[in-house]
Each structure stands twice: as structure tokens, then as C-alpha cells.
Amino acid sequence: MFDTALTAADFAFLAKGAGVTILVTLVSVLAGTVLGILFGVFRYQVGPVLAAPLTFVLDIFRSIPLLIQLVLANAFLGTILRLNISGFAVACIILSLYTAAFCAEIVRGGIEAVPATTRRAARSLGMTWGQDMREIVLPLATRVALPSWIGLALGVMKDSALVYIVQVTELLKSTQILITRLQEPLLLLMICGAFYFVISFPLARFGGYLEKRWSND
């Protein structure tokens, strides 16, 4: 009923691509989130005027298509600066900054959602700025920001398909290679889509679980 030239080795090839997608996403989302928190707190703390240069740079990363950023960064770092840098590294750097740019906005929004009166109460108990941030603001801001952050992480995971342009063979590129060879686009794209779903699903569920857990308060 079903006839395909797809072999176990091809399947392993796809799985390897999926591994690259996961790795690029993991590195970028982690680094981007850490950077995004730093940028977001900084922007909130110093106010819009002093943060303007940072905001401008982040806006660039947010508004230029990822594909262009990847090509330009690759050319700049590799060809112009003559750094011996792998496509994978370029991909991680650009995707991290891209993530950080969006994450900074999410973080700032989350912090602004914490009522000033709650923070004043924390400070009036003798808590320092840092203690207030760690114990009150970040936990509360996290609850507000989580849905947007999950959306961002899922988006970055799918956007990571674009890193093929800097010669990183991730899931979608692997699929294309097989399509070229086997001429079975529908089957291969379905398998590829299933891979993406399997990667995304746990993250989406995990977000749902946290939201439910936190809704008691």
C-alpha cells in the first residue's frame, strides 16, 4: 500500500538534522534569554533615554529578517574580519541576539506588570534592590512573561530552519537534501513536520503545566 525508498539510514540522517535544530535552539534560547533578562532589567532600570542606544541596536535585530542577518554576519565575521568561525557559531550568535532582542521586551513588560506598591512593601521590610528583584519582581514578572516567552522559544525553534544559509545542516535542510535525492517531498515534509512537532510539544506542554501550577496564587 505504501512504497518508499526511504531507508533507516535516511531516517537517522533526519534525526541528526533534528539534533542540530535542537542544539541551535537550545543554545540560542538559553543565551538569548539570559541576555534578554540583562537587557530588559537594564532598560527598565535606567529609563528610556539612557537605554536608547541599546534599544536601537535591539530594534535592528528585531526588524531585519533573520536570513539577511545570518548572511551579513557570516560575511562580516568570516570574510571581512577573517575569523575562523563555523557556520554553527554564527547561527548561534545571531539567533541568540535575535532572541535577546525580543526577550528584552518581554522581560521589561513583565517587570512593569509588578505593582509599584508590592515593590515598596518589599523595600519597606528592609529588602535591598537585589533582594526585591530576585524574590519579588522576577518571580512575578516570570508569571506574566511566560506565555510570550514560550511563544518566542517556539518561534526561534522554527526560525532556526533559516540557518541552512550559513551551511548548517539542520532538520529542514536535511529534509531538502533527501527530497532532492528521493523525490518524495510529501512524505519527507510530513516526517520533518512530525519532528518539529515532537520537539515543540514538550515545551508548549511544559508552559501549560507551569501556568496551571502558578494559577493558585
Binding site: 505593582p115 512593601a121 519597606s124 521590610l125 528592609g126 529588602m127 533582594q131 524574590e135
Partner: protein, 240 residues
């Protein structure tokens, strides 16, 4: 002892405190009454350094609050404050709300902080709500939790900023009862309030603020019985 000397404070062009002098001795209960915008709440937030002042000085047990060298975080351990808005930490249970600053600020051990929290929560009548999140509490209960949270820091002074103003009328009594209890126990307190009956009952002295000036201060019998200041007379006849 809290010594307030000629304190002035403006928000932009609006001068809200126009040279306030007030000394509160240990064990004394002073209530501050007055219309909205009279500067009474601002004075409280200046006492624990949440607001800077423009001139004058506030000295708490020999420490000048607004001096550059003063460690405000350290000073605030000795001065508890409870605000009009209930500001529970919504992500923590009632017990954790009362434990947090004890552990982080006073560096008490968790069992120690928990014992103190349980004691204070029992004291304000919330002993059965330890594991509950604040969102499950009524406004009066949240306000009593905020009082327990401040008391757990073992402060020398307590400041209450219109703590019943945001409550439904039927919840005011339970919070005022808690304040009465503290007053009986000898806590040094400054209460900004609109509850005249309460002010009359618990205060050693009552201060009337009008447009940034302390227009009159006297023991309650005298201030309510024979008010001197014409603005105070108007205020009292309007609120009775």
C-alpha cells in the same frame, strides 16, 4: 524616639510638608488625622526613607534617616510600615509572605523564621491560613497579614498609613482591633487614619494636619473635646 524637625517636602511645585515638627517617644501612640492631600501619608513614607525630604531632618533613635551615610535597609528593619493598599506577595503563601524578609534581611534560619511567622500570624488571628495564598484572603485578612509581616521583623516602631481606607466597611473592625491590641501591648505607633473613634480610643496624642502644616496636636480628649484650630473644628464637624 522619632524626632521630626522642620521637615519640608515638595512634589514638583506642590509643597506637601511645610515644616513639620513632631517627636514621638518610645511606647507612644500618635495618630494623624486630616483631609486628603494634607501631607500626612507623605510624612510616614519619609520617616522610613521611602521618600526623600527637601530640608529639615528626621532622626530615629539617633540615626538621621536622610543622611547619606545611613543604611536605609538596616534602618527599615526597625520601622515597620503597613500601607493602605494590601500588598501581599501574591506568589507566596501567607506563611512564606511573613517569613521572606526575616530570612533574607534578618538572616534568621528557616525554622526560626517560621516559628516567628506562626506566632505573629496567630497573634493577628490568621493561624489557620498559613498555607493559603493571599488571593484567597479577604481584604481585612490581607491587611492583617501585612501587619504580621511587619511585626515579624521585630520592629521598634510601626507606621500605619490609612490601613483601613481601602477595606469594605464590615472588614474595618477586625483590622482596627489588631491595631488596638498592638497599642495595648505598648508598641510605638504612628497611625494615619480617618477613623476618629479609633484615634480617640488608642492615641496618646492626636495630630491634625492641614495643607502640609501640623495645625494642632494634643491628647485626644482635648483635641476632640475642645479643638482650637478653626480648620480642625470644621474638619471634626464634617466627619462626625
Amino acid at each position: 524616639m522619632i524626632e521630626i524637625e522642620n521637615v519640608r517636602k515638595s512634589f514638583g511645585a506642590l509643597e506637601v510638608l511645610k515644616g513639620i515638627d513632631l517627636t514621638v517617644r518610645k511606647g507612644e501612640v500618635v495618630t494623624i488625622i486630616g483631609g486628603s492631600g494634607s501631607g500626612k501619608s507623605t510624612l510616614l513614607t519619609c520617616i522610613n526613607g521611602l521618600e526623600p525630604i527637601d530640608s529639615g531632618r528626621i532622626v530615629v533613635d539617633g540615626t538621621e534617616v536622610h543622611a547619606k551615610a545611613t543604611d536605609l535597609n538596616k534602618l527599615r528593619r526597625r520601622i515597620g510600615i503597613v500601607f493602605q493598599q494590601w500588598n501581599a506577595f501574591p506568589h507566596l503563601t501567607v506563611l512564606e509572605n511573613v517569613m521572606l524578609a526575616q530570612v533574607k534581611v534578618l538572616k534568621r534560619s528557616k525554622p526560626e523564621a517560621e516559628a516567628e511567622a506562626v506566632k505573629q500570624l496567630n497573634h493577628v488571628g490568621l493561624g489557620d491560613k498559613l498555607k493559603v495564598f493571599p488571593s484567597r484572603l479577604s481584604g481585612g485578612q490581607q491587611q492583617r497579614m501585612a501587619i504580621a509581616r511587619a511585626l515579624a521583623m521585630s520592629p521598634d516602631y510601626m507606621l500605619f498609613d490609612e490601613v483601613t481606607s481601602a477595606l469594605d466597611p464590615q472588614l474595618v473592625g477586625e483590622v482596627l482591633d489588631t491595631l488596638r491590641m498592638l497599642a495595648r501591648e505598648g508598641m510605638t505607633m504612628i497611625c494615619v487614619t480617618h477613623e476618629m473613634k479609633f484615634a480617640r480610643e488608642v492615641s496618646d496624642r492626636v495630630a491634625f494636619f492641614h495643607k502640609g502644616v501640623m495645625a494642632e496636636i494634643a491628647p485626644p480628649e482635648q483635641l476632640f473635646g475642645a479643638p482650637q484650630n478653626p480648620e480642625l473644628q470644621k474638619f471634626l464637624s464634617a466627619t462626625h
